[in-house]
Amino acid sequence: MVRAGMFRLLANWRVALGGFVVLVFVVAALGAGWFSPADPLEQDLMLQLEAPSAQHLLGTDSLGRDILSRLIHGARVALAVALVAGILTALLGTALGLAAGYLGGWPDMLISRAVDIWSSFPPVLLSVILVALLGTGLHSVIVAIVVIDWTRFARVMRAETLKQRHMDYVDAAVVGGLKPGAILLREILPNVLPLFVVLLTLEMGIAVIVEAILSFVGLSLSSDVPTWGGMIAEGRQVIYQAPWIIALPMAALLALVLGLNLLGDGLKAELDPVLR
């Protein structure tokens, strides 16, 4: 059963391609020590801004560090943020969205107003302020993402729950004597789950970008940990001498975000037993 299901999932090219791209990054991140040809922090001031060669497959940066190794280690930070921030954001936003959509009345009023007010702040500014207040570091990046982006989940999940709430099967559950908690968890939740998965993959992509932005402006990790955002910032200084230094981390970023979005798109169609 499960294997047949996996097989069918992979028959969808979006799931297959997106999943493959994400998997490549995950494997690279997990085995960073293994796959990196060199120490990402080891400087070699004799070999600054080397073009790609047999020794340094993707060249070196302005301090002579191996770019491929830095990219691979950067994937660790990107994926860690994507996973932790994505899931925390999803859980917080979904819980509030479900509550608002199902309970209605004043809880809905309260949550919806909060979402409205929250969404009216410019997100990049808000994140920069937040991290400045919390101090730099991965944990503050994650907190900033959760605090800012829960509204995305809350809004969409509320709308979807509201839609499901008015379906006859919910009335059927009431007539069947189910309690509100059981109706929410057993009847409604499975129906909003596909949307949850799709939003989660999108959110992971967004988290990767936000982390890169914060690294770019130097508000994420200290500069001795390789991050894609940090690499982009450094690459900007030497964009005319060595354009691949900025291009490579941007390409990695783009590939990961696109992979996540593709995966989400594909899952959306595949997880819906009615669409299938």
Binding site: A172, A173, V175, G176, G177, R186, N191, L193
Partner: protein, 274 residues
Amino acid sequence: MLIDARGIRLSLPDRGRPGTLFRPAPPIEILRGVDFQVAAGEAVGIVGESGSGKTTLGRVLIRLLQPTAGTLTFAGQDITSCGEGVLRPLRPRMQMIFQNPLSSLNPRRRVRDIVAAPLLAAGIPDDGTRVTTALSRAGLGRAFEERYPHQLSGGQRQRVGIARAIVTEPAFILADEIVSGLDVSTQAQILTLLRDLAREMGLALAFIAHDLSVVRVLCDRVAVMLQGRIVEDGPCGEIFENPRHPYTRRLIRAIPLPEIDDGWLDNPEAMEEA
């Protein structure tokens, strides 16, 4: 009387004119003083054109909606305005079959789980035999237990809805337009099935339909609704052969019987301007 509704009124905020924070939407009265009874084991039809309030009345009877005025009792117990906590123990005895079987069956649950849900909620222990029995009474074999609703035909979905409604052996079932979307052959099957089940289990039925012919197959009595009121009710034979209210007469004359009748097209009521 198993179900006894008297002077039921219901107002809801007008959907067409949403209110504001300071001026709530003006309510419109959808039920305007309805008296409706169903005795144990009796099948009563509710007919009328769309928008007349049949579904709303049905939802009040099964207490998915709370009436604004009037009294409603079920087996002698007043349930006009009690909360879901008081209703829950009664739920196994009053069930409902829905008009749209696709939207009333959770698309993500298997047939077995859908039918078992009311048992589980009522804490009735089941090793699967009650579910299997209910499904087989509704004419579905064990093979269907594993399926999802979208893997069934329209008639089969409605059978699942029937199985779910009878699994707790209720005394009363509300059926809202349950054969509207089906073709005549499937409709005949479902009507016959429901009638046989009602006789066998001593079920009382409130059977909502816009098609009077369908009501005649199944019901002992019929109530005719018009604009939130019941304008006429009585035994089927009497109402269909000797309708008293002008609206009932008009409703009956408008039905095209499958026989040649040149007079039908000359009905002056049908020549009205709109």
